[in-house]
């Protein structure tokens, strides 16, 4: 039988994995939304972009629900404290997700150009804001939040932007991580479109991807140094943690793959490299951050960790059993859908697609 502490470690890994997969999967359709005005100019081209992500975006979003669900069952204290503490930011995210989903699904119901222009605008703005919000949320976790001794906190949207107490959700550091997420997801989406579309959209996507990935390569070390300044305890342990080192290597291999493959145009391999980069940096961060889940700005003793905030190990043992059945099923469905939609996406006739 797996001991209780080990069970909590397993669920920390599951939760981290689900969030990283969410960022990578929904990330490519956010990215497509961000770059869509630059790579798709005519209505047909816009619909080509939507046809590329249309069959996947909804399934990608389910990873967010699964990630949230894993926190709920395994670390209810972290979920309760974290989600209520970021109250405002969470609702901004939810409203953007709402507008974005409706934009994708409703746009092509009407041929009216104003109707379509309004939804294109909504789609791009919501995708952009979501990337920034998720990046900023990640920055908040690394910087820390003002947890009290009962394990609660509440954050205003902003204070003096200084990253020192009293902190707000937005300060120079979390804005930086937000911008990094924006560029990284735009780059990820551009590589996806470079793979899944052909013609002018595909060519523009390759060019956009190239520029965006150069920006990612420049920003990555900048964000790493900033993270070290804000949270000095993050990196020293990294070298001693095999998983963190492995994930960093995966990220580096991913970015190299992207640059090597993009020179010859878009391809599945370039997209996989891009996904590996995102999974790698998120995995490396989670592995270095462990066992902390919500870092307290008022001192490490107040932080919520996998061990102090975990649920009951016996219940998690049961959950692990059905999780081991459910996860492969979810992966099979997604693989089936990708297989059925293989090949370059083309704009559908009106009424027959996105």
């Amino acid at each position: 039988m797996v001991p209780g502490r080990r069970m909590l470690e397993i669920w920390y890994a599951i939760a981290a994995l689900l969030f990283a997969v969410y960022a990578t999967m929904d990330g490519f359709d956010f990215g497509a939304g961000i770059v869509s005005p630059w790579v798709a100019r005519s209505d047909t081209e816009r619909r080509q972009v939507l046809a590329a992500i249309g069959p996947f975006w909804d399934g990608n979003e389910v990873w967010l629900l699964a990630a949230g669900g894993s926190l709920f069952v395994a670390f209810p204290r972290v979920l309760a404290s974290g989600i209520s503490g970021f109250y405002f930011a969470i609702f901004l995210v939810l409203w953007c997700l709402l507008g974005r989903g409706i934009a994708i699904e409703f746009r092509s119901h009407l041929p009216n150009p104003l109707w379509r222009a309004a939804w294109d605008f909504t789609f791009t703005v919501a995708s952009t804001l979501l990337a920034v919000f998720f990046g900023a949320a990640f920055g908040n976790l690394l910087r820390g939040v003002p947890l009290d001794d009962a394990g609660w906190f509440s954050l205003p949207l902003f204070t003096d932007f200084s990253a020192r107490a009293p902190v707000g959700i937005l300060d120079w550091y979390t804005i930086l991580t937000g911008l990094f997420a924006l560029v990284a997801l735009a780059a990820h989406g551009a590589v996806f479109l470079a793979w899944k579309t052909d013609g002018p959209v595909g060519e523009r996507s390759v060019r956009a991807a190239w520029r965006l990935w150069v920006t990612v390569a420049v920003l990555w070390p900048v964000v790493t140094v900033a993270s070290h300044l804000v949270n000095p305890s993050l990196f020293p342990g990294m070298g001693r943690r095999g998983l963190a080192a492995l994930a960093t290597a995966v990220a580096a291999a991913g970015i190299v793959t992207v640059f090597v493959r993009l020179r010859r145009g878009g391809s599945l391999l370039a997209f996989l490299g891009s996904g590996a980069f995102l999974l790698g940096i998120l995995g490396a961060t989670a592995a270095s951050f462990f066992p902390v889940m919500l870092r307290a700005t008022g001192g490490d003793a107040l932080s919520l960790t996998a061990y102090t905030a975990g649920g009951d190990p016996a219940g998690l043992r049961v959950a692990l059993t059905w999780f081991a059945v459910g996860l492969p099923l979810a992966l099979i469905y997604q693989v089936v859908v990708f297989r059925l939609h293989r090949g370059p996406a083309t704009a559908a006739r009106d009424g027959e697609g996105y």
Partner: protein, 441 residues
């Protein structure tokens, strides 16, 4: 105006009522689409395939709104009910994560194949996509009902040394008898909603003299499924009411406006609860019927509100009472309506009976109202508890979120959902005006 709790409750109530207008149609419609498409696989099934295509387009629009209004529900457990999440997350988190893993991935993966994939797939393949959507949406319904059933009638748990709930018996929790009864009742009610909507469209086209084939199919399917499901709703509702009588007797007393304990209690048809005076004004009562319905014998003693301390009474007895009576009244009305319509249909006279077609066309809001009222009965009857008998609603709200913040998001939802409603009606109206047939530009 400092009471955040009221606003937390109002926001959850508003967003869940609004959200559930869409899944109740898609869950019911998923079953009807599978039935219609199965008929379409047989020789001469082309009109049935056309009918299915029309409803799949309606399904797609409803499903999209259901998805985007559903995601906030999942997160409001954390944003607004953090106390509850912390207390019960180890238990209810199980079913919520299972819903994502087993139901949402299935639904979301095959949705676009069902809506846009008819050319991409074979006939059987497209039928299977419809089956996948049916399975996914009905599974999703079960996990949510099981979560709610735990809040209504907690089983399979223990209270841990830290005061938080823990899972003790997974089977007991997932196969909660309350969940089984509630699921049957709820899913049949969803089929009634879909049936009434399908029948209403059929009646509209029949009255307009358009789309003759489709109108016949819609009326047959809508009236037939509506009658069967309506009767099952009543039967399962009876099972559920007996569970309420046994496990939430104070809720039953409030639902019935039953203030004083008495044997041979009467069933109230109409009347206005007067909580201050502890009586029912202008009551119209069937004698002895409540005792029989609740406990199976006319002599059973039905405890009234006076048998319970006031602090355990549901905190909105009037609304609970009306919600229950509206649900039961509309349920009876809908069974009667489909019974008469089915009788006419069997004699081949439904399509020529214009008054009946008018009734069917205008009756589609009834199941929506009845479903909403049914859920209000369930949830108001659970008060003042969040987890029945264990954890009060007042303990469940997020401690750090104040009322100004909640009002901001509540007003935001009102605005967003108003616009969303307008867009929805506009698009559905277009689909109805266009009618079954090839896709339109």
């Amino acid at each position: 105006m400092g009471d955040a709790l009221v606003l937390h409750r109002l926001q959850f109530a508003f967003t869940i009522v609004y959200h559930y207008l869409f899944p109740q149609l898609t869950m019911g419609l998923a079953l009807l689409v599978v039935i219609v498409k199965a008929r379409g696989l047989r020789p001469g099934g082309e009109p049935w395939n056309d009918a299915a295509r029309f409803w799949i387009r309606i399904f797609g629009i409803n499903f999209a709104v259901g998805v985007v209004t559903g995601i906030p529900m999942e997160f409001q457990f954390g944003t607004n009910w953090a106390g509850f999440s912390r207390y019960a997350g180890s238990v209810v988190g199980q079913t919520l994560l299972m819903e994502g893993l087993f139901a949402f991935f299935l639904e979301s993966s095959f949705l676009s194949l069902l809506v846009f994939g008819e050319r991409r797939l074979s006939r059987v393949g497209h039928f299977l996509a419809a089956v996948a959507l049916f399975l996914g949406s009905w599974l999703s319904g079960y996990f949510i009902i099981a979560t709610n059933a735990f809040m209504q009638h907690p089983v399979g748990h223990v209270v841990g040394p830290d005061g938080m709930l823990r899972l003790a018996d997974f089977r007991a929790f997932v196969l909660n008898p309350w969940a089984l009864a509630q699921y049957a009742h709820n899913m049949m009610a969803a089929v009634v909603t879909a049936s009434f909507v399908v029948a209403a469209a059929g009646a509209y086209y029949a009255l307009m003299g358009r789309h003759g084939d489709a109108a016949r199919i819609f009326l047959r399917v809508g009236v037939g499924a509506g009658l069967i499901a309506g009767v099952l709703v009543a039967a399962t509702g009876d099972t559920q009411a007996k569970l309420v009588a046994r496990h939430q007797p104070v809720a039953l007393a409030a639902m019935e406006g039953h203030f004083e304990s008495a044997p041979r209690a009467g069933l109230v048809l109409i009347g206005q609860p007067n909580v201050r005076e502890r009586r029912l004004d202008n009551p119209v009562v069937i004698p002895w019927a409540l005792s029989f319905l609740a406990f199976g014998t006319f002599h059973a003693d039905v405890p009234g509100l006076d048998a319970f301390p006031e602090r355990d009474w549901p905190d909105n007895i009037e609304l609970l009472y009306y919600a229950f009576h509206i649900m039961a009244g509309l349920g009876t009305l809908m069974i009667t309506l489909t019974l008469v319509a089915a009788f006419l249909a069997l004699r081949g006279r439904l399509e020529g009976c214009r008054p009946m077609l008018w009734l069917l066309m205008l009756a589609f809001p009834f199941p929506y109202i009845a479903n909403t009222a049914g859920w209000m009965t369930t949830e108001l009857g659970r008060q003042p508890w969040l987890v029945y008998g264990l954890f009060r609603t007042a303990q469940g709200a997020s401690p750090t979120v104040h009322s100004g913040t909640v009002l901001f998001t509540l007003l935001g939802f009102c605005g967003l959902y108003f616009v969303l409603g307008l867009l929805f009606f506009f698009l559905i109206g277009r689909e109805i005006a266009h009618g079954p047939g090839p896709a339109h530009a």
